[in-house]
């Protein structure tokens, strides 16, 4: 069960090089995956493959097998995939329908399209708004929300479809620290409700603190994969053009050479690792 990629490659129509090159992945239900990589490493393409937009919407040549619960995604209609794999875009302005005038109507938009019974729609909308802490804003005009609220609305509209997997492509890149915290809180809430989450994110310090597993991409390939510590400690990670969390970077500059699982990710861990004494007792 879950989503599996077996030797998957993809080349966009009209381009010469592979955006994704021989990637094999197995996304286990209920886990939280982070995806990192430099610009052009294939992060968005991977998200499009997860969500079925490749091959159903974006054209090109797809090799290998992408299976959702054992069934090839190429054989599942895109609107069927959409009920099982939710997709949160980088920019909420692209995601929102632009034809609703209230927060709750926006969340109901997809459910109406799928023809769910009316009562079910109302119940799901209420639930999604509660999970994303938007219940108080349900009658507001979407475009009057703050950046963080707008992105949470995008997540709520995806959650309402009750997908098994939610894929998010840099959802905090346009947000300030407050908005970013709101979205990370939203992701935590999603996880708590049992959803598998895939999050592409540049903010590695936050990512390191939240994800179960990290997938690092370079030139369309999975360069390393595993626990955040294992990935950040990996010698090949340094060549990807992606920052490490500051504490991991500092430990490596101080000559860290231990087991990957001991790589410090927070100040507390770093102090403990090197036996540095705190100035004040905490």
């Amino acid at each position: 069960m879950g989503l599996t990629l077996t030797h998957v490659s993809f080349t966009y129509q009209g381009t010469a090089s592979k955006a994704i090159d021989d990637v094999s992945l197995d996304l286990q239900p209920g886990r939280f995956y982070g995806v990192v990589g430099a610009t052009g490493a294939g992060k968005s393409t991977l998200c499009h493959i997860f969500s079925g937009l490749i091959p159903h919407f974006l054209k090109g040549s797809l090799d290998g097998e992408v299976a959702l619960d054992g069934q090839p995604t190429s054989a599942i209609p895109i609107d069927e995939i959409a009920t099982r794999v939710g997709y949160v875009f980088q920019n909420p302005f692209d995601q929102l329908s632009h034809i609703t005038y209230r927060v709750d109507d926006e969340v109901a938009f997809g459910l109406q399209n799928f023809g769910l019974p009316r009562d079910e729609i109302v119940a799901r909308v209420t639930h999604a708004l509660e999970v994303l802490r938007l219940a108080d804003l349900r009658d507001r005009y979407p475009f009057h929300l703050s950046g963080g609220q707008l992105q949470r609305l995008a997540v709520a509209s995806v959650l309402a479809m009750s997908p098994d997997i939610v894929v998010m492509d840099e959802p905090t890149s346009q947000l300030d620290p407050q908005g970013t915290r709101e979205v990370f809180q939203a992701v935590a809430d999603l996880r708590a409700s049992g959803v598998t989450v895939v999050l592409v994110e540049h903010k590695v310090d936050l990512l390191a603190a939240h994800v179960d597993e990290l997938i690092a991409l370079g030139d369309g390939r999975v360069v390393c994969q595993g626990s955040p510590r294992a990935v950040f400690a990996s010698p090949v990670f340094g060549d990807l053009g992606v920052n490490r969390p500051q504490m991991a970077e500092l430990a490596l500059q101080l000559g860290f050479a231990g087991e990957a699982e001991a790589l410090p990710l927070s100040p507390t861990e770093l102090m403990k690792h090197y036996g540095f004494e705190a100035l004040h007792a905490d």
């Binding site: 990589g37 430099a38 610009t39 052009g40 703050s146 950046g147 840099e170 890149s173 346009q174 300030d176 620290p177 407050q178 908005g179 540049h202 310090d205 053009g241 992606v242 920052n243 969390p245 500051q246 504490m247 970077e249 500092l250 430990a251 500059q253 101080l254 000559g255 860290f256 050479a257 231990g258 087991e259 001991a262 927070s266 100040p267 770093l270 102090m271 690792h273 090197y274 036996g275 540095f276 004494e277 705190a278 100035l279 004040h280 905490d282």
Partner: protein, 281 residues
């Protein structure tokens, strides 16, 4: 080119007060970062420097002259301003002509125009894409094009709004190289950003804004230690600052600074042996 803000207040047409009696002096060639949440007034403040917004009360002085009566198109000679979203300004069909738009407007022609464009493209390593259509490039690359377009105007003051969003490490490094090069030439470099690690690495002066006012103004070594101000403005210092706060001793605020400060304090045993012991228990 010194900038002086004298008791500036600014209210939007909606009545929202974005600046409340702000005064500020920025000397020639300074590197200043403005930080704060959205809505704190930081972007409103820097937009006063080139006349995009005019104070409701108070005045802004550039190089000793009140800019109240100067046109934005003339102020553009003094203050180059790169906006956050590249797609709000890119309209030409090649990277090169896009970058040439600003300096052309300032009156550069022929060889001097070409030199300005080449220099900006070179500084951000965009030269190999000069003939590409900007919209065939990634968002991150378009953002660099947009910064190059403003850098090519070679103004004495350079303002960048959120330059690092969407950039990978290489992109951030290119921006840092540009800023360092401009600083060396005496350009005043101002940035509005949420990226505290970027601030820590590149700026000598940090201005914290919150609720339409300046709440702290000083070196990173001072401002990052003012916890109540930062949290009041909804900001977090970078993790290395947290580490430095807890360790005491000489302050550090960048990873490389931390590494050189901590190197002498490393325990005699190498980290490797500590680890193998830990692993053994």
């Amino acid at each position: 080119m010194p900038i002086e803000v004298r008791q500036v207040s600014y209210a939007y047409a909606s009545g929202v007060r974005a600046l409340a009696d702000v005064s500020l002096r920025i000397g020639d060639g300074e590197r200043v970062a403005f930080v704060g949440q959205n809505g704190s007034g930081k972007t409103t403040l820097v937009k006063q420097f080139n006349g995009l917004l005019r104070p409701t009360s108070g005045s802004v002085w550039l190089g000793g002259a009140d800019i109240a009566t100067q046109r934005i198109s003339d102020l553009a000679r003094q203050v180059g301003f790169a906006f956050q979203n590249p797609d709000d300004q890119i309209f030409r069909n090649s990277v090169e002509s896009e970058v040439a738009f600003g300096p052309f407007n300032l009156g550069l022609r022929g060889a001097s125009l070409q030199a300005a464009v080449d220099e900006a493209l070179g500084a951000l390593e965009l030269a190999r894409w000069r003939d590409e259509h900007p919209y065939t490039l990634s968002y991150a690359a378009r953002k660099l094009v947009c910064i190059a377009g403003v850098a090519a105007m070679q103004t004495p003051v350079l303002v960048l709004d959120e330059p690092t969003t969407g950039q990978d490490r290489l992109g951030v490094e290119r921006i840092e190289h540009l800023l360092a090069a401009r600083s060396e030439r005496g350009t005043t470099v101002l940035v509005v950003t949420h990226d505290m690690a970027f601030v820590a690495r590149n700026f000598d002066r940090v201005i914290v804004m919150s609720a339409a006012q300046i709440h702290a103004d000083g070196a990173p070594s001072e401002v990052f230690w003012r916890d109540e101000v930062l949290s009041g403005a909804g900001l977090e210092p970078p993790p290395v600052v947290r580490l430095s706060q807890r360790l005491g001793g000489p302050r550090f605020w960048t990873v490389s600074g931390a590494a050189s400060a901590l190197q002498p304090r490393l325990p005699d045993r190498t980290s490797k042996s500590t680890l193998s012991e830990e692993a053994g228990t």
